[in-house]
């Protein structure tokens, strides 16, 4: 068997170690990165271009929608509503500052003591702030005048800053001779005070009372024959006050604690 193997016509190969010539596997890392970057850049460019177009179209749609919304705004309706609101606001401002002259006169009725007559009334409104009221009172006795002054300063929430001035005490005989009237007033004085507008505001419910203006004489207030208002207030009688009817003006008159002048009352220009 050994000979047959040697006689073979097939050339024998050396039993040498076969060296594999495997080619070196090259990893083209830089190429991959390059390709990736390039494609990524191209993709990003395409994507941003598409998205920009989409966003621009969206902006155009928004512009159209805004235009449509603006076009639905009715300037005419807006003007109509604005004018109405303006008028309503102004009307409310006037209504809120409307003074009830009847309320002022009612309050004057209420605070005017019975022996007192109002000879004159002056009233002046100053803006929407105050009413300045000047009343010319007359009465026959000085104690009634003092009582009236006390009522004015203490009993009225409507009238503030009461100032009494021009107190004039006349002898009845002289006054009769000078004026010629039957019962001339012995004491006249002027009361000035201010009323905040908010204290005498117009009340529609009160104003629509059917007896408004005509209730004088039905309530506590009465109208005297001279057209002046008298009040049936419980005024202390003269003996209670302690003043003699025929008082001496030069004598020291003591009216008690009830007739002490309030500190805020200014008495000036007193003439006898």
């Amino acid at each position: 068997m050994q000979g047959s193997s040697n006689n073979s016509f097939i050339p024998k190969r050396r039993n040498s170690k076969r060296q594999s010539s495997r080619p070196a596997r090259k990893v083209f890392l830089l190429t991959i990165i390059t390709y990736s970057l390039l494609f990524a850049a191209l993709l990003a460019a395409a994507g941003t271009a598409f998205y920009k177009n989409y966003t621009a179209a969206q902006l155009a749609r928004e512009a159209v929608l805004l235009d449509a919304a603006v076009n639905t705004f009715s300037v005419q309706d807006f003007k109509r509503v604005q004018e109405f609101d303006d008028t309503l606001t102004k009307a409310k401002g006037r209504v809120d500052n409307t003074v009830s002259m009847v309320a002022v006169l009612d309050e004057l009725d209420r605070i005017t003591a019975q022996p007192i007559q109002i000879n004159g009334l002056e009233l002046q409104r100053q803006g929407d702030e105050v009413l300045l009221v000047t009343l010319n009172f007359s009465t026959e006795t000085l104690d009634a005048a003092l009582f009236q002054r006390k009522v004015l300063t203490a009993n009225s929430a409507l009238f503030a800053d009461v100032k009494i001035s021009e107190v004039d005490i006349q002898n009845a005989v002289e006054a009769t001779a000078a004026g010629g009237a039957d019962t001339p007033p012995a004491v006249t004085f002027i009361a000035e005070f201010s009323t905040p507008l908010t204290a005498a505001l117009y009340d529609p419910v009160e104003a629509r009372r059917t007896d408004i203006g005509t209730r004088v004489g039905q309530s506590i207030n009465t109208l005297n024959t001279a057209g002046n208002v008298e009040l049936e207030t419980t005024i202390p009688s003269e003996p209670e006050i302690g003043l003699d009817e025929s008082f001496d003006i030069d004598a020291d008159i003591e009216f008690g604690s009830e007739t002490v002048l309030p500190e805020d009352v200014e008495v000036n220009e007193t003439t006898i």
């Binding site: 830089l30 190429t31 970057l37 990524a40 271009a49 509503v81 009233l123 002046q124 408004i212 004088v216």
Partner: protein
């Protein structure tokens, strides 16, 4: 993948960087600006829509006010003054109150020179129109007159009042009444 040469690779990287730098980034900036614009437009549209809704609501409220009430408001606060009509109304009020009037006249535009008026925050821009009225009658009649003035369908506010005693138990009252209009023009002109 066919390998690139080094130069080609560098060129490709440079191209990619150029694409990103000169196209992608500016496009992104543009997109950001566009989105900001879109947001602004959307906000404005929302505001306009809200305004339209509010206006529609106000118009509906206005329409819900009866014609009668609207006419009363227009009567209370007219835009123009018809002084002849006001004079006639004062005359009718005086007649209804039972007072005698010796003078009812239109004095023109009312000016309040008081400190209180000047200092007040008067931004309603109303124009006062002044009427001088002299009436006489009993106290209750005068009170009726003022009560009727208060109940008038437009303001006739007393600005000055001077009451004095007449002979025979009557009073005379000189008063200045002011009514208001929203415009300075007179209807009679």
């Amino acid at each position: 993948m066919k390998p690139l040469g080094l130069l080609s690779q560098l060129a490709a990287i440079g191209l990619a960087i150029a694409i990103v730098s000169f196209f992608v980034r500016p496009t992104f900036t543009d997109i950001g600006e566009l989105q900001t614009e879109i947001q602004k437009y959307a906000d404005e549209r929302e505001r306009v829509t809200d305004t339209n809704l509010a206006l529609d609501q106000r118009v509906a409220e206005l329409e819900s006010i009866s014609i009668n009430n609207r006419a009363r408001l227009a009567t209370y606060m007219p835009s123009l003054l018809d002084e002849v009509a006001v004079l006639r109304d004062i005359e009718i009020i005086a007649q209804n109150a039972g007072v005698n009037y010796s003078e009812i006249q239109f004095n023109g535009e009312h000016t309040d020179d008081s400190d209180e008026s000047r200092l007040a925050d008067n931004d309603d821009l109303l124009v006062g129109q002044e009427f001088a009225v002299t009436i006489d009658g009993s106290y209750s009649r005068l009170k009726d007159f003022f009560s009727m003035l208060e109940q008038n369908e437009y303001p006739l506010q007393v600005y000055t009042l001077n009451v004095s005693v007449l002979e025979g138990g009557f009073l005379t009252a000189e008063t200045t009444l002011v009514t208001y209009v929203t415009s300075v023009e007179s209807e009679a002109e």
